[in-house]
């Protein structure tokens, strides 16, 4: 058990900077998710913790020990890979046993430990199979079992669920969450899927272009986005963002204005509001007016997209709600549910 500390790490390949001066303290037993679009540097950050990449600059600590110069095998971490990284020529049993073998754990303990790990992920009946005889979900479990068979200091998981189908992903997500709770091992988890991040994480680090854009518990990331990037990335469908001016406690959009308590005056500002905080109403009653562009039923709710001047807004409504395309509608919302961002810096104001 240990914390993981990154101190000002940078990874550069020639001109390309993958990770830029990143510092992060991951607490002991914490489940931390690195979330971001592809190419944001999240996987590179994890690979530097694993020792699969050497940081160009900066220091990596596991517990109190600086591990920059340690080989991956000496860092006592376990990793689950996106494509599982199973050994195709070995049976499931041998796959799970491999870490014990190379780490010279006494042979007499092997079968007991493998059995325990396999039981935890419900694989005990498949130990004699080869990886190619398993389904995607089963392979995923083998990778997990191989990670937990010895008790590592840190778990690293690189998009472990991204190759599974949607249904299995939900099941495995719950299992992962339960497993981490049971084993109480510090976990770093890389994903581009915000639902995974929200459901699994103690804290989420949202990454963008090699830096951490925002770090906090999932509810904070959702309810209190620090900047335009996080606001636009988190939420499905994402937050509605409209450009306008901020003047005398008033946000002015080409098509409407709303009074907002904010002393700043800005020529270029963005107003953000989540789809579930918008309410459709009769055309003349709303804060703003628009015409319906599309109407979709997602199952548990409906999504209505409307055109408002240059912008397109998405509104979440009850599942019984019905409306026709091209109908004129009004939209109501509360100023207190709005977020304001400076266009210049991208930061919340």
């Amino acid at each position: 058990m240990a914390s993981v500390t990154l101190k000002g790490i940078t990874k550069r390949w020639n001109e390309f900077v993958a990770v830029r001066d990143l510092s992060l303290l991951i607490e002991d037993q914490e489940f931390l998710v690195l979330l971001g679009p592809s190419g944001c540097g999240k996987t590179t950050t994890m690979r530097m913790i694993a020792g699969l990449e050497e940081p160009t600059l900066g220091e990596v600590f596991i517990g109190d020990r600086k591990v920059n110069d340690d080989l991956p095998k000496d860092r006592d971490v376990a990793m689950v890979f996106q494509n599982y990284g199973l050994y195709p020529h070995l049976s499931v049993y041998e796959n799970i046993r491999y870490p014990l073998k190379v780490r010279k754990v006494p042979k007499s303990l092997h079968s007991e430990k493998v059995r325990q790990a396999a039981e935890k992920v419900q694989l005990d009946h498949l130990l004699e199979r080869k990886p190619r005889e398993l389904s995607g979900g089963q392979r995923q479990r083998v990778a997990l079992a191989r990670a937990i068979v010895r008790t590592p200091t840190v778990f690293l998981m690189d998009e472990p669920l991204s190759n599974l189908d949607a249904k299995l992903r939900v099941t495995m997500r719950a299992e992962l969450k339960h497993l981490q709770h049971e084993l109480k091992i510090t976990t770093v988890y890389v994903t581009h899927d915000q639902i995974e991040a929200m459901t699994l994480a103690d804290r989420v680090a949202v990454m963008d272009h090699g830096i951490i854009s925002q770090l906090g518990p999932p509810e904070e990331i959702y309810n209190d986005p620090a900047n335009l990037f996080v606001a636009g990335f988190i939420g499905s469908p994402p937050m509605n963002l409209m450009k306008g001016k901020l003047h005398d406690n008033n946000f002015q959009h080409p098509n409407f204005s709303i009074s907002i308590n904010h002393e700043a005056n800005l020529e270029e500002a963005t107003l953000g509001i989540r789809p579930e905080d918008l309410i459709l109403c009769a055309a003349q009653k709303g804060v703003l007016q628009g015409t319906v562009y599309a109407h979709e039923l997602t199952g548990e709710s409906t999504l209505t997209t409307i055109n408002v001047g240059p912008d397109r807004l998405t509104i979440r409504g009850p599942k019984e709600f019905k409306i026709n395309i091209d109908e004129a509608v009004g939209v109501q919302f509360e100023a207190s549910k709005c977020f304001l961002f400076s266009n210049q810096t991208g930061e919340r104001i």
């Binding site: 694993a50 020792g51 699969l52 080989l71 991956p72 095998k73 860092r75 971490v77 376990a78 990793m79 890979f81 996106q82 494509n83 599982y84 990284g85 199973l86 050994y87 195709p88 020529h89 491999y98 870490p99 190379v102 780490r103 990778a143 191989r146 690293l156």
Partner: protein, 275 residues
């Protein structure tokens, strides 16, 4: 209706063309093979029916032809070349496949470009060198020159196979606690083994069929099978029935080996270009 008849005619036409191609491929091979079982008089007649004999195979192994010596030379030379080349090639291929090296491109291109140097160009200095060292007409000399032919090929082929092994698996082994050497021994080699064997077989075929080096560097003791083919002369002319018998011994083993690796045969020859 008209369409379906047209399609049937087209299909029949294609079938006929393919059959033609198959016949063109097989007939010369058959003719060589059948010659091996003919008596000398039958060779000079275009008969399809003849009384088969195994006498030719008896004769080629006797004096003055002593083909078993050539067979041994060919096997030893090709075998040694492959045994020396494959481990070296595997190591180099692994490095080229997995690491960023200084001058990587330059080194790689250099190694590959040697593949295209005409053998007749480099054989001159070899001939002079071996003459000075007293190595002319030895198997050792042949192994050395064959290595220059085989090694670049083997590197490219094996690199292609290692490139196909997912990096994930190796990294998983590194994190699981293996050193790099353990990863190579426990993970990469078992996974790349079919590819490495393919390369080995392929290189064996190349070395076995190699002719130019052998014809120049050897003249009696170290003569290989392909060179041995030109030994079957007698006062009455060329001994085609014996050439055919020797020909079977040259081609049949290679056919067998080629069949084992048929899936990868093309890939190997194009130096991985057509993937």
């Amino acid at each position: 209706m008209g369409n379906s008849i047209r399609k049937q005619v087209a299909d029949l036409f294609q079938f006929a063309l393919i059959l033609c191609a198959a016949v063109v491929i097989l007939v010369p091979i058959y003719w060589i093979a059948s010659g091996a079982f003919k008596q000398q008089v039958d060779v000079f007649q275009l008969k399809l029916l003849f009384t088969p004999t195994l006498a030719n195979f008896n004769e080629i192994f006797r004096s003055p032809y002593n083909l078993h010596e050539k067979l041994l030379n060919s096997t030893l030379v090709a075998g040694t070349t492959v045994i020396v080349a494959i481990p070296m090639a595997t190591m180099a291929a692994y490095s080229f496949s997995r690491f960023r090296l200084r001058f990587e491109r330059t080194m790689f291109l250099m190694i590959l470009s040697t593949q295209f140097v005409p053998a007749v160009v480099i054989v001159l200095p070899y001939f002079l060198l071996f003459r000075d060292l007293g190595l002319l007409d030895t198997r050792l000399a042949l192994v050395l020159v064959n290595l220059s032919l085989i090694l670049p090929f083997a590197i490219w082929m094996i690199k292609g196979f290692i490139d196909g092994i997912p990096l994930d698996t190796e990294e998983a082994a590194l994190v699981d606690g293996s050193s790099r050497l353990q990863v190579i021994w426990n993970i990469v080699l078992p996974m790349a083994l079919p590819g490495i064997l393919t390369a080995a077989i392929f290189c064996f075929i190349l070395a076995w069929n190699e002719f130019l080096f052998a014809v120049i560097i050897t003249n009696s003791k170290a003569v290989t099978m392909p060179v041995g083919l030109s030994l079957f002369h007698a006062e009455e002319g060329v001994l085609w029935h014996l050439i055919s018998a020797a020909g079977i011994l040259i081609m049949l083993p290679m056919f067998g080996l080629a069949m084992i690796i048929q899936k990868h045969f093309v890939q190997g020859m194009t130096l991985g270009a057509v993937r």
